[in-house]
Symmetry: C2
């Protein structure tokens, strides 16, 4: 197998690492080890697993300097951004530890044997159980929070599953360092090392998806690669769930009143949201619907776009995809380039923000093509009718954002349901970037944002890696403790009534 290489996007220098790509045989051995680990941890109490998640959090936190150092040279992201991402990643593990302890995620339920309208019915106990080894494909743009130690890994481990991650080719060394930190935590906590695996190379990734022992896939990345892996997962002799977070245009709508009252402020916030992390965020707004007469807001955006410095992109592949898509957009009928700067600066892999504009009359689905990088298309509209009409051509997105005033003329009666139909999160008077990790978060949305009805951020992300199990007339001692009679330490439904545990 070939050795793995890493490239510093700031200067384009490529280095060969002392890491070989993982062979199909090695993948198989990792999956076998993962299956054994699944058996070993199956009967461990939830408190043990919460402890494991906290041990991982601690170890990542303690390895912060090493992790951000590796990531800086592989992603070109700023130290501050990377440091914040480690904090987020650590927090995420701790939140999942709380959720595991709390226990609601198990959806435990008991229906005692009873006479029912359909006759005598047996005793039933239901709860969710771990699905089995999970393959995780992280994204290039979040080397921690959506990569090896990211939300997919954390939620899959929290649910009780082994994880085998595929190292992203844009940050193999960061992947390895995060994996090593997590393995130290596993060892310290007495967990089997097979609970976490790491593979390198595209072929190893494909092997992972087709290995019979792998029971689910979490993926964050492009729609193209996502669709390939999704097809691979569904064409297996035994298909498995594929959870893809793929592509999102994240429309923003600014009402005439909001543009009039807060135009300058919105221009500033929107520009920051478009250009943060060089626009390489899945929630970056790619389309903004701006009133036709809101020239002040647009002028403020143009001024920022003309002054902005260049930023490095994560990888050569992302860079060329960005410049290609921008060129395609620029050639669309009616499209105007407001910033009037070529995307690439003389510094090579550094790009400057793109600011394009089109009238709503010329708005087509082609305008809503995701540009992964610092670029946005302003769509100028006249009235709510034009807006609604245009919304029909906006593809499914992770987010949709509305800027409105308390007393606003923009009629939301139909517009808000339309936005809710196309997005998984509706943001009011804010910006879609910056995804809070919380119980009430949803990071998902209709195709092509994702391909499922689940989230990849927030506590409920665990549901993806669990499957329901029912026991009928089981002897008490053969049941998991969570569905035995008597006092338990988690919320559950007993004979249809949701009950909370006694105060702890």
């Amino acid at each position: 197998m070939k050795n793995v290489t890493t490239t510093d996007p700031r200067d384009g220098r490529t280095t060969e690492l002392e890491i070989r790509e993982t062979s199909a045989e090695e993948v198989r051995r990792l999956v076998d080890a993962a299956e054994r680990a699944a058996s070993e941890v199956r009967s461990a109490p939830r408190s043990w697993r919460a402890g494991l998640l906290r041990a991982i959090a601690d170890e990542l936190d303690a390895s912060r300097a090493e992790l951000t150092g590796a990531a800086e040279s592989e992603t070109g992201l700023t130290p501050a951004r990377l440091d914040g991402e480690v904090t987020r990643t650590v927090f995420q593990f701790r939140l999942f530890a709380e959720a595991v302890e709390e226990g609601s995620y198990l959806e435990a339920a008991i229906d005692h044997a009873a006479e029912t309208p359909t006759g005598p019915a047996p005793d039933l106990r239901r709860m969710l159980v771990p699905i089995g080894p999970v393959a995780v494909f992280g994204a290039s743009n979040f080397p921690f929070a959506f990569s090896v130690p990211g939300g997919d890994t954390a939620s899959a481990l929290a649910a009780g599953n082994p994880v085998i991650a595929k190292a992203h080719p844009a940050h193999p060394l960061t992947s390895l360092r995060a994996f090593e930190a997590m393995q130290r935590a596993l060892e310290r906590h007495g967990a089997p090392s097979g609970l976490l695996g790491l593979v390198f190379g595209q072929d190893a990734g494909a092997s992972l998806v087709t290995e019979p022992g792998v029971r689910a896939v979490g993926f964050t990345g492009s729609a193209r690669t996502g669709r390939l892996l999704m097809d691979l997962a569904s064409r297996r002799p035994a298909p498995i769930p594929f959870y893809g977070e793929l592509s999102s245009i994240n429309p923003v709508i600014v009402s005439p009143a909001a543009a009039a009252v807060r135009g300058a402020q919105i221009a500033q916030g929107l520009f920051a949201s478009v250009t943060g992390s060089a626009g390489q965020l899945c929630t970056k707004p790619g389309l903004a619907f701006i009133p036709r007469d809101a020239d002040a807001l647009v002028d403020a955006l143009v001024a920022q776009a003309r002054d902005a410095g260049a930023q490095p992109m994560l990888s050569a592949g992302i860079l060329s995809a960005f410049t290609d898509t921008r060129s395609e957009l620029e050639r669309l009928p009616g499209m105007r380039d407001l910033a009037m700067r070529p995307p690439l600066t003389s510094e090579g892999a550094h790009v400057v923000p793109g600011l394009l504009e089109i009238d709503v009359a010329d708005f087509t689905e082609a305008v809503a093509e995701e540009t992964f990088g610092p670029s946005i298309v302003l769509v100028r509209y006249g009235d709510a009718g034009e807006l609604r009409e245009a919304m029909r051509r906006v593809p499914g997105s992770l987010t949709a954002t509305l800027h409105i005033e308390q007393h606003d003329d923009l009629d939301l009666t139909d517009l808000l349901p339309d936005l809710e139909a196309l997005a998984g999160r509706v943001v009011f008077n804010g910006y879609p970037t910056g995804v809070r990790v919380a119980w009430a978060q949803h990071h998902g949305g209709p195709w092509p944002a994702t391909n499922t009805i689940h989230t990849s951020v927030g506590v409920t992300a665990m549901r993806r890696f669990l499957r329901p199990m029912a026991w009928q007339d089981a002897p008490e001692h053969l049941l998991p403790v969570e569905v035995r009679d008597g006092q338990v330490d988690l919320p559950r439904r007993v004979d249809g009534v949701l009950t909370l545990p006694a105060a702890r």
Copy 2:
């Protein structure tokens, strides 16, 4: 388009009905109407929807004689069995009405704006919202409970979605009668008629899966047809979730102690489970692992198999698939025919039970091929090691059943986890047929039992037809009532803490 025909399986007579197959254009119009209906009912309170479900239950109950009459002539199932199925179907709608009122299914959660370890965080509100129009493909073996008015339809409607059902070709008239009864209920309750549609014909079914406005598919039927539709759903430009309940062998294990203590009783219960509804149940046990020395149990089964009367099968297609699969099984190396009766009697479409036997040493995956009809393969084993080894070759199933004694020598330490790994429901000292409709039910399992992590029976079946939605910093009046501040009528999570509504 062709007219639809119906066949009475008791005498094989085919009649042409005054129903035309549905054209692609008609399917499109139904989907359009469904999308409009979805908008119309979106903001109706949960109590309205609970009322609708109860109105449907009442109308089905009132139409009982008409429904069972149609089904008897189309399925050959007994009047008692069909009457019980209507009762179950009516109960199912009423249970979903309770679940809608109770409100937990929305998974409502609020995280107020807060300072967090990752910095200041916005206000988030999350709950599940209807996914949109759902296509339902019912099964031949339950003309009510898993067909037009069945669990998929009831759970999709309960979740707030329009449903377009495809009439099963084995009971088109029953489908129409059930649809008409439900439409009367919709009208009585003031619901838009587009909330429920019905199509006839295979082409119409395929159109339904590919129509852009359809957002999910519920399917109960064969693995072959299921896989075809599943591929159709995932190859759409915008793929949609496909929930298939497909094929299940439902292994039963009898321990040596259970065979010794309750052999005769188990023989009777098992035989009834294999032959009820002519074995045409997705939970029919198709494999029983019986101790090598439990000859009394096996003799009791043989006696019943030799005496049993003939039963009509649901359709000519199912009949020929049954006899074909039985013949294939009989030809497997080491297979013995214990009943020694040809499957078909002189009455034509009537079959007698099949009872095959094989030693565990000869047990292969081919032995575990589902035979949809009254037939079971007894696998004779010696010890727990042989059992565990054989379990590795048993495919994913809806159920697995264990007959054990309180003080049993059979070591369950590894065997029970193995059974849990391959099934969605583990039954103790009972039989897998007869699926209780309840909160704690799970009717699903690893491939090929189903292709997802969801259930098609029980309250949680609703989750399939909901998608999460989050609102960030939304003005109170633009939020659904369920996630506004203050008192609400449902359980929800506020700042991480699950809270119950004030006593009602």
